[in-house]
Assembly symmetry: C2
Homo-oligomer: 345 residues x 2
């Protein structure tokens, strides 16, 4: 596995205090599930050794400020806000998907119940806007800056897309067939929109010109699709000790992820065989999952998805070329993109 | 029952088109549960005769614009936004409370499942901010007005309070005792904050001076507590054919509403008797519910709560007196408050 890019650690050190302070603003009952979810404490409130997530979104936010020549600290409210939205969606998605484990720990609903998980997610969602619209210390007049207002509007838009993507993903479960284009459109909404936001919010808060903001946003959106393609491969062939999920998990849940959609939309005997496995009534057996996985691999669904990840990585890097961004930040954005898109399978 | 104030109909006619247009912006999968929830369609998408809710919040918003001398239409984005937040909270609360019926119809989760109800609620929550921050047609520059930004910040704050109140309400279920002060603080958050917002957002959008905005907000907050006190009485002694809920519903759910908290914090034999009923393991029988209801009534919990509603109504009306608001609007605000606080028990 490639070395972890330094910016992930650097951005966490910059952003985590703001995130902790934001979560501390929640009322007593909601603070604990939120702090548990972030990996800061255990369910009883004692310190946790779980450690946080990768922090990809804060790193993108910080680099996007630096890419337009601003200090990375300018990105902090945007980075904290996008982490809050991302994590609200994880808390709610785990309810929707019935997932009992995330990052090798029981999910919030599994520990605190569905009720507290619904409300905690709502609180994190709302807190994101609170953090972003808060008047920065020392600014007179008590009004948020135009840059913060712009960053808020963009967050609302990205969150709308994310929710629509999650909803489309759920709807796929009831469709007999999903083609690759529909799958990519869903994943662009579900993952791409928020990564596009992350990769541009620092530039927005720094007041950068539109062409640089747009370039960074496209980088993030394409990176989101590369990330998702890799995730979809890992969801079938990933090592459970690394992914924290059972082998073939996405197949067991009959997900219509990229490798599956790619085979289904290819037609022929492979599509028919895969459809036959998914049409089995009740839970899929380990044998069913292995058979589906073998069919997809033989029909090229795995290779196609890895190729898609590679194309999206190229598109991400092309987007930030030639728009006058700071060279050092572009290097770090490139390293981060490669780290995400070239995770070992 | 007193005649329905004309402003409820007038405000609905003004605000509903904006609300329908907002909900139409949702993706296909989320539009149906949302439109079903608002009572516009049945679960299969066919037109519904269910009819909408009372529309108290839009009416308050419209009157708050008129109270500061502006056209009621100025309030529309705020009125639509607060209806979206209110209804997102209803969709999620019904999951949390396990309620299968609202306004004499099955709740969203009961019809579409918990998964769709979680995500639909999230979408309505986010849509509220989208509606409010949308650039008004014809305004140049594409930036929201300072008044809209201010209205957004206030909505974020009110929603934070509402979520904290809902969370405190849930936490009460696990506490052996809740005193009246804690109950009122919870209800001020859960209901008062959003009614305070509703009753001032029109004035905020009209750019009214702070003392008028504040007076209208206090009116709404106090009205919220009056409303909640009446609701708590109806939750125990209300006519099921009017409330749409089983008789004694709040007792069956062991809610620590105002009448219950008032008796528990009074101590003595009544508190002990009530505690004994609530301590029964498993579901409460009809006999348990009747016994609890009789104990509360005999100990004065019902009368105390009706008196609280009356005090809060007086405080609401006092708040909007003498701050130079338009006389016609104050008359309508007064009529609306009396209609809400003097519902027949």
């Amino acid at each position: 596995m490639a070395a972890v890019p330094a910016v992930l650690v650097r951005a966490r050190e910059l952003v985590e205090p703001a995130l902790v302070a934001a979560v501390d603003r929640l009322c007593d009952e909601l603070r604990l599930p939120a702090r548990y979810h972030f990996g800061w404490v255990e369910a009883d409130g004692s310190p946790s050794t779980a450690g946080p997530g990768k922090g990809l979104r804060p790193a993108l936010a910080v680099l996007s400020a630096e890419a337009v020549g601003a200090d990375g600290a300018v990105a902090v409210p945007g980075a904290a806000a996008v982490e809050l939205v991302h994590n609200f969606s994880l808390v709610h998605d785990d309810i929707v998907d019935g997932d009992v484990e995330r990052r090798h720990r029981p999910t919030v609903w599994a520990v605190f119940g569905v009720d507290d998980a619904v409300i905690s997610g709502d609180a994190l969602h709302n807190l994101a806007f609170q953090v972003l619209l808060d008047t920065p210390t020392g600014q007179s007049g008590g009004e948020p800056s135009p840059e913060r207002v712009r960053a808020t509007i963009r967050l609302v838009t990205a969150t709308t897309a994310m929710i629509a993507g999650q909803s489309a993903d759920m709807a796929f479960d009831d469709l007999p067939e999903v083609d690759l284009a529909a799958c990519l459109a869903m994943e662009a909404d579900k993952t791409g929109a928020l990564l596009g936001y992350s990769a541009s919010v620092g530039a927005v808060l720094a007041g950068a010109p539109a062409d640089q903001v747009d370039a960074l946003e496209v980088y993030g959106q394409e990176l989101g699709l590369a990330f998702q393609a890799v995730d979809d491969v890992l969801g079938i062939w990933g090592d459970p000790s690394v992914t924290g999920k059972a082998a073939g998990n996405d197949l067991r849940e009959r997900k219509k992820s990229m490798p599956v959609a790619s085979v289904l939309s290819g037609g022929g005997t492979a599509a028919a065989e895969l459809r036959a496995v998914y049409d089995v009534a009740g839970d899929l057996s380990d044998d069913d999952v292995e058979r589906a996985s073998a069919v997809i691999e033989a029909a090229g669904g795995r290779d196609d998805t890895i190729a898609e990840a590679s194309r999206r990585l190229d598109a991400a890097l092309a987007a930030i070329d030639g728009v006058g961004l700071e060279v050092g930040a572009v290097d770090e954005l490139t390293g981060l993109a490669r780290f995400v898109a070239e995770r070992e399978f």
